[in-house]
């Protein structure tokens, strides 16, 4: 067994960087020039500085990416004016799949025809020099949002553009997003990205990493989310990342949201400290409901408002917001700006008493904590010459099993449904190592469900459509 350790650090990254930067679309990125540029951008572009100066409310981050530079520039300005604290840069699907030629061709067509042929900003095609101009007058962090298994070139271009927050990770950007990208390769490519962030960091101004905890956003038991988030924090710490955010998506149950937040915070610290990474600063991000959204905009607004209140309740450092047009597709900038305003309104108007608790919340917290610990301890016990190999094996063994993942390396055997309270319960853990006692407790809690006699698939269908 190989525990998380600095021995896994990619010490000779410069050798690999030379290969990645040889790509014509790297447009001659020079590592030294990038470090000089990062030293010149406003300090507030770095999440660590932003988080250190956060007021009583969680930071707000919308989503958004358009193919054309002008549209992205205008979106950036509108979101910033609407009170977004973090500015998103969402990348198109072709770039995510490393299909840069297609992205470049569709960018050209979008420019010529004035019509969007891409569902995001093709950062690699635009290049770092132009992208720097998107943010020339911006003193807020920019967050790279994508879903890329091999994000080496993308992260190079992002950091060269002055973007200091890179979302993703080997598991969270592969298992929910890809059907066949080999997970072991993904783990190695994300070592590169994590190390790249580390070598572009200074002690005061680190390039920040954030994991994507919602995963498939479909009935993922909190213990699985916590285990994967902790693993990604450890993998990043191995490579020298010193500023890292874990996250999760609104579960659909207030009890479970509060419990998950407590456990996720505690276990991230516990395991980082256990393996000698106490110096890593950790933050905690909450995603508004990532499942199917109601088509009625009034209901969507209500959902957005309630989840903003939960973010406040659980003292999230940042909330990633949805819009009332979520059921319809990519929102217009005005709608996106409105969502920031709605969330800001809730956050400042309904400041919650922190540390809410009840017997129900305490029981849920203890259960998630115990399950996540047993999963993590079993993963750490697996053989391998490096921690990433144990993680890779954990998927093959089904110790880590993400419901509704399209990925071939994911077991897809765990079955989860909601209890009467809306909390996600493990109906069948399959090979996920939860104790017999916890498995029994999960089953007992499921007894509360009114339609417990119905076929599982019918329960699941209604659970997935919970918010609709």
């Amino acid at each position: 067994m190989a525990l998380p350790s600095t021995r896994a650090r990619l010490s000779d990254i410069e050798k690999y960087r030379a290969q990645v930067l040889a790509h014509p679309l790297a447009r001659g990125i020079s590592p030294d020039e990038v470090r000089e540029h990062l030293a010149q951008v406003p300090r507030q572009r770095f999440p660590r500085i932003a988080y250190a100066n956060r007021g009583p409310d969680p930071f707000i981050q919308p989503r958004g990416g358009f193919p054309l530079f002008e549209a992205q520039h205008s979106l950036t300005r509108q979101l910033s004016e609407a009170g977004a604290d973090f500015i998103p840069l969402t990348i198109d699907s072709y770039t995510r799949q490393n299909q840069y030629d297609t992205a470049t061709e569709l960018l050209r067509r979008s420019e010529e025809e004035g019509k969007d042929y891409l569902n995001g900003y093709p950062l690699v095609s635009h290049g770092y020099e132009l992208t720097r101009q998107l943010y020339s007058d911006l003193a807020k962090p920019v967050s790279l949002r994508h879903g890329t298994p091999d994000a080496r070139l993308l992260a190079e271009v992002a950091i060269a553009s002055g973007i200091a927050e890179i979302e993703g990770g080997a598991i969270c950007y592969c298992v929910p997003y890809s059907e066949g990208f080999p997970l072991d390769r993904c783990l190695l490519y994300w070592q590169y990205v994590d190390r790249l962030c580390a070598v572009n960091s200074t002690e005061e101004l680190p390039i920040h990493r954030e994991s994507f905890g919602p995963l498939t956003a479909t009935l993922v038991p909190p213990a699985i989310v916590v285990a994967i988030e902790v693993i990604e924090a450890l993998l990043a710490a191995e490579q020298g990342v010193t500023s890292f955010a874990v996250s999760f998506g609104q579960t659909g149950s207030m009890v479970q949201d509060i419990a998950t937040a407590t456990v996720l915070r505690a276990l991230t610290r516990r395991y980082l400290e256990e393996f000698g990474f106490a110096a890593v600063e950790t933050y905690f991000v909450y995603h508004q409901w990532m499942g199917q959204f109601p088509v009625q905009r009034e209901r969507a607004a209500a959902l957005i408002a309630c989840s903003a209140a939960i973010a406040s309740m659980i003292s999230a450092d940042k909330i990633v917001v949805k819009t009332v047009d979520e059921a319809y597709g990519v929102p217009r900038p005005e709608i996106n700006a409105e969502a920031c305003d709605t969330v800001r309104y809730v956050l400042r108007t309904f400041r919650s008493a922190k540390s809410i608790t009840s017997p129900m919340i305490e029981r849920e917290t203890a259960l998630i904590r115990s399950e996540a610990e047993s999963i993590l301890d079993e993963v750490l016990n697996l053989s391998g010459s490096a921690f990433w190999e144990s993680v890779f094996r954990a998927f093959h063994m089904g110790f880590l099993d993400v419901p509704f993942s399209p990925h071939a390396d994911n077991a897809n055997k765990l079955v989860s449904v909601r209890d009467a309270n809306g909390s996600i319960r493990i109906a069948d853990a399959a090979n996920v190592p939860v104790s017999a006692q916890n498995a029994l407790l999960e089953k007992e809690l499921l007894e509360s469900r009114e339609d417990r006699a119905a076929q599982t698939y019918k329960q699941m269908l209604s659970d997935i459509r919970l918010m609709v």
Binding site: F404, P406, N412, V415, Q455, T456, Y457, M460, L461
Partner: protein
Amino acid sequence: MTDVYKGRVIIGVIGDDIHIVGNRILQLALEESGFQVFNLRTRVRPEEFCQAALEVNADAVFVASLNGEGEYWCADVRRLFREAGLGHVLLYVGGNIVVGNRPRDEVVRLFKQFGFDRVYHQETDISIAIADLQEDLKHGAAQHAGAAQ
């Protein structure tokens, strides 16, 4: 050999479609109804459905399309099955099988012409298809659209 299952069913999402949620639920639904399911999951090519049906001696194949690629990919599925000597295998298709808003009757007619036995365009109740499958399996191969041609 007596089979404890009611039948063997291949399922998968055709084309370059990666919509996995319905696929997983369909698997559970068929299993809970007593069928043995071989799930080819997402991005499945017509040839792969055919090879899998041959390999496991399938009684039925459920082809899904959620992003509407179905119209393009499904035209030749029945021909492939006949050429492989699998003309008797039941072919069902469901999901959002065409792009855009088209009358359901028209879509059903089109896919029946392709040689599908049952077509469920924008039908959200899985139990209908499962009841149909149980019914179709009571009848002989001669009843199938595919075998009749």
